[in-house]
Symmetry: D2
Subunit: 436 residues, 4 copies
């Protein structure tokens, strides 16, 4: 029996109004809105169920025959929010190029330093984003617009949009920013302003709901494998060496797991989704000792959000509801050292934290292609008058998703999946997991 009946998602996209203008896009596609994109999503992808699948209908991305905004009078804005990840500049570039060359839109404004850029008291300038200005930015990591964390008052933001006569706002950001984008949509609706708000979900942790592939993820994994290789070299270059690599992943171990698959030197992988103990016959420390005795070196990859319960019980530090993560890698380093010192055995730990190096590199070719699609399709959707939605790839299709759907919750690694079994086959670390 399947679980299909249990799950139901609303994938309806809102339009500002009927699109009546002939598109200037020269490559007509066959997007017939009456015929949606039908996909079979699995539990692994949705983190909703274990082994079953659900058939869903999505609105296809792509240019429409008719557009809502008159390109000659359309003004766009782009804002980038939250931490950086590879590919943000590629998305910016793709939006500007698509708007300029394929629609003939004359003005795309860059908002500086995230949503703060809308708030007058910060006093940031606007950036005019012309093709000349953006032509080379994809060669650089980060965001040329700057970013900031946290929400801003949506009334102030819409005031600013009105003051600047902006018709279309592209928000590149994480799930928090997608909620902020939803608030902006609500405010525009309240004021009855015809402003399109389109989100491009960004998350280095790959943990936004329904976003099975976030841009920059492949690049981040590629870069993470370099750090793992360095840890392997360090660990192998010394007697009883232990290379410990901290990777991103506050609540989800996607990068750590994928990098482990990509660089088959990892012996222990620790992620937030599964529990492990340090002590006891099934604990990490004894498993590490066996590994060192047997092979003389070991590599541990640890997602930053792993083992947080160890801190609660063992270090008593993080008793409050404080979302700040405990320092699991610090805990590992001290426990490993103490354990082997206590047994009068040598151990040489080399700890590598490559986080800023991973997230600040330019996108690789695969991510550049994907960011190009995201930018192109964001413009197509906006010009058609859609709002309150995001662009993403599901399976091999580009689709539209309501902001609500991606903002409500986060994805996790499904540790009962084929994928996770492959990861475990690759590390061979069976003993200490699932201590119960």
């Amino acid at each position: 029996m399947t679980n299909e009946s249990k799950l139901s998602f609303d994938t309806t996209i809102t339009n500002l109004g009927p699109a009546k203008i002939q598109t200037p896009v020269r490559y007509p596609r066959y997007v017939d809105e009456s015929r949606p994109q039908t996909l079979i999503m699995t539990g692994e992808e949705l983190s909703e169920l274990d082994s079953d699948t659900i058939t869903m209908n999505f609105e296809k991305a792509g240019p429409r025959a008719k557009i809502y905004f008159d390109p000659s009078k359309t003004k766009c804005a782009i804002v980038t929010c939250g931490g950086i990840c590879p590919g943000i500049n590629d998305v910016i570039r793709a939006i500007v190029m698509e708007a300029h060359y394929n629609y003939g839109i004359r003005t795309v404004l860059g908002i500086k330093n995230g949503l703060r850029g809308f708030i007058p008291e910060y006093g940031y300038d606007l950036v005019e984003l012309t093709p000349e200005r953006v032509t080379n930015i994809h060669h650089f990591g980060g965001t040329i617009l700057g970013s900031s964390r946290g929400a801003q008052d949506s009334e102030e933001i819409v005031d600013s949009l009105e003051r600047l006569n902006i018709n279309i706002l592209f928000v590149i950001g994480g799930d928090g920013s997608m909620r902020a984008a939803k608030d902006i949509v609500d405010e525009t609706v309240k004021r009855n302003r015809k402003i399109s708000v389109i989100g491009i979900p960004k998350t280095i942790d790959n943990d936004i709901n329904f976003i099975t592939r976030s841009f920059g993820f492949d690049t981040a994994v590629e870069k993470a494998t370099e750090a793992i290789q360095c840890a392997h070299v360090e660990a192998s270059g010394i007697d009883r060496g232990v290379g410990l690599v901290k990777l991103m992943g506050r609540e989800a171990g996607f990068i750590a797991a994928q990098a482990t698959l990509a660089m088959q030197e990892v012996n222990f992988l620790l992620v937030p989704e599964d529990q492990f103990t340090l002590d006891g016959d099934n604990g990490l420390l004894m498993a590490l000792e066996r590994r060192l005795d047997h092979r003389n070196h070991a590599v541990i990859v640890c997602a930053e959000g792993a083992g947080q319960y160890l801190m609660a019980s063992e270090t008593k530090r993080d008793a409050s509801g404080n979302p700040k993560l405990g320092d699991i890698c610090g805990l590992l380093v001290s426990n490993i050292k103490e354990y082997f010192d206590g047994k009068d055995q040598e151990s040489n730990i080399k700890f590598i934290d490559p986080s800023y190096i991973i997230r600040s590199v330019p996108a690789n070719a695969g991510d550049r292609v994907y960011c190009g699609f995201l930018g192109q399709h964001a413009v197509h959707a906006a010009m058609n008058g859609k709002t309150g939605m995001v662009i993403t790839q599901l399976k091999s299709s580009m689709v539209h998703l309501p902001l609500d759907l991606v903002a409500i919750k986060r994805r996790n690694l499904n540790i009962h999946s084929d994928y996770w079994c492959s990861v475990m086959e690759s590390t061979g670390q069976q003993v200490y997991y699932n201590p119960e």
Copy 2:
């Protein structure tokens, strides 16, 4: 109305016999053979139809609860055929590691230099593939086993398999090699030998039927973009510079198209799937002239199989059924030079052929992950007693496909697809295509 009724593919996989032995794999997955993987494939993926989709059932890849071969008595062999591409060594490594560590198989033999390695008269040695031997091979491009092109007599091959007591044969190769693998299967059936033959499809052109993502493709595209960037730099470094890059793609322009999307400096893309003319108002030469007049430099990416009809009519060389491709880039260089010389205009063509550099690099992280899956699942399938099939990823699932299905024909770029429209949006090259 949909075209679903027109299409029907047999996805049944053959088993050598009932699997009765308990698997030694420690990470049980939930592969229930009575419940297949259901996927909705699109015309773009199948090159079969334009805009419709078809729902199909595939056998899921993954370890089974019971296996057919007794690991302690199982002997495997790996052979690599055809031209090299990134990731072959990764697949070899993954097969060896999976067989050794997760199944406890003691012997994996490497066959040297392709199918020739089975033929005694060549006198090649066998290579013992141990974990120690393969542990670092993924850092290198090519194949440690060597390769060769062309088929060999399947009776002689099966003689050899019998002589060596091989139970499982892994064939890494292109569509031709998949047909050869099918012949081997037929011969084993004729002789009633319980030998499992599993294919891992390999194609730098990404053009094998049903193989929507061939391993090494992402890496090849990444490397191809470096050559395009060089062409752009060369073309920009001189007055009226034209950078011309030849990329792989005998019958399908996948690499050329994807690299064009990834490196947005391409102004003209030429692929086998669409026609273009050199002369006339809609021809390439006048379009190039306009580009040089306007921007002073241009980048052309040409798949090796593009514009073959130009050779037939213009150069009279290829009148026979000879499959050897005409030298389209040579033709372009001479025609471009002649055209601008004739108009007394300067032109400076820089021609780059990076083919061997592209295909001989090690796989990137994404391909390494994929190759790891292919190797793991190939062993799972074989140990379960399956034969005459290949492993591949469809959508985001790993599945089994009959050898027949992948060997019967080749995939092409669908030039009526969203994908192709995105490519055209990226180059902006509307004028000279589809001359009729």
Copy 3:
């Protein structure tokens, strides 16, 4: 007995006049012009003598206490000539940054497309080179100014310098361009114009006289080794594979030799400085046969100017005094194929020509440092009123050299040197060299 008495070089640098203005440079160095830089140069470096050394005095590079030009009224120009190589943009950037930030010079003009940019009939625009304009250009290969080959009338050039009120001209180019720079100096002297002309020698072949390390060379070698590795992978991936890599080097095999040392997979190195035969017991073909019989694959690196005498005698093609090089690699491919076909032996040649890929990449860290020094010191020299000179590094010192000295002739590999012996030790290719 030493050869010192035989050699004598004039290293005197000309000044436009006495420098009377206090320098604005805030980091005073201790360049005392009365105390020159004394260096002991060896025959290997000068290609002048075999094993002896010569002690020479050079003017040290560096800021002087007094400057000749008033920064507030100084106008500079930069021109880039000849083929591209890694680091040109770094030199441009360093000149602009040094002139702007350390001297307070307001105007640096970029001349488009080489010396042509001075000739009105070409109608090229000038480029204003501000810090903002150049801040990121070192991330890109090639030259942002464009280039062209060949000289232009020096009277027209000086007309242009006068018309633009340019006080300082920086010429980045090869030995031909250094001769053109000398002509410009002579013309300014004839007209009694106080214009400083400073050369920064550029040569991908590393063959300019006295320029023992040309910028971009290390980067080119790094990139060349990638192509050699690809050739090695291709050759190893097939039975009796031969990887043939063509590298730059019309008259000098520096890149080919250094890349051979850096990538120890090369079995045969062919350079213009030494002769080899194809046939006979000591010839390349039999040596190659022995290698294939013994090891089954081989890598040949060939400088483009190697073996030109083989073309004269064997192919009769290049009878005229034509400086265009014969296609030595084409000759090798056909001869190797013919030789093994004639013996009914297999051979599989993979030919790689990475020239444009090598020269168009951005500079590596070592070259970026060097280019920074070249740019800084070029500005220091010019502001002090020097002219008719180039900046270069000799040993570990930055010095000034008269244009004459670098322009009169070219360097070659000294094949009687320790360096060459190390190369030969690395390839092990003793047999066919020096057939007499």
Copy 4:
């Protein structure tokens, strides 16, 4: 007046005895020991004097016509000591290849885990280093032999050398290891054993006396610039961002300075050789504030040994003679944060510590060439019967130096040099240095 009279270094190399055997090396060089390599060394290179130079004579490296050891009976050993750096495997490979192919030596042993490998109680195995074993090791960072820190009893080491019948010992290590090598030499002399001990100096900090270029340094700088670029991207991606990069350099800032020159985004460079204050008008904090006010982001590069006096006075932590470095970057982070918080100004610090990533990568092409020379020449020197010496490059020559000379003290950046002035020109950080 020069300082030449003040300085005098003994560069005499000891021989085990007269070399009487004809060399098997096929490429005779012209090393005439009666004619030394004469070099003019500057104060910058020696850190001995400020602006003067000294002419010195060195023994040239290279094969000799006669050798001391009979290759057919010679047994070599290689040991690698101390922290890893790029290129160690290249040196190992070059020694093995030279010994095997050019001298015909049959046995090269690898000693595991540094000098400990000689001490029986550790019980490490020996590694047989054949050409097959080492052929691909240069593609990997670290050392295949493993390493350890600290000296071991030289009597036990020589016991071990005798027990193994080792004639030649190659020690790859830092200045401490060179002192240990000297102790081994002394012990062999005491016992009258004819064992050659040759050092190959290794230091990621580039601070060994007389070793003006240590192998791996260029590669480390290249990798360090990537981290600086990431810091720049991070700092630019946020309002008032500060990128802080910690680089190696306990007593010498060579890597930090060179990386600063190579990646011109650095605004503040802190090295052990010069002092700076945090507070006051000339202090780092106010300079940083001015930079943020003016440009909104800043990059600081800090050598790990910089500002140690700040810890003594401000943090009172490191009062003992403990050589462990104070955490200067931790101090900077907390002081910067406190300073701007105190002024109610925003600041966003991104701290990157790339040390293990920098030192564990494979060598780049330039270092590979250099490591090849070091290995070749170490074998040449040993086979000629020399002992108690190291191989290094001085200027552009390969020479022999007595172990004493390199082990007595360390090099520093000369902050009164042209080089340092170029660094300061590049950062523009004049204000807070040299507060007195």
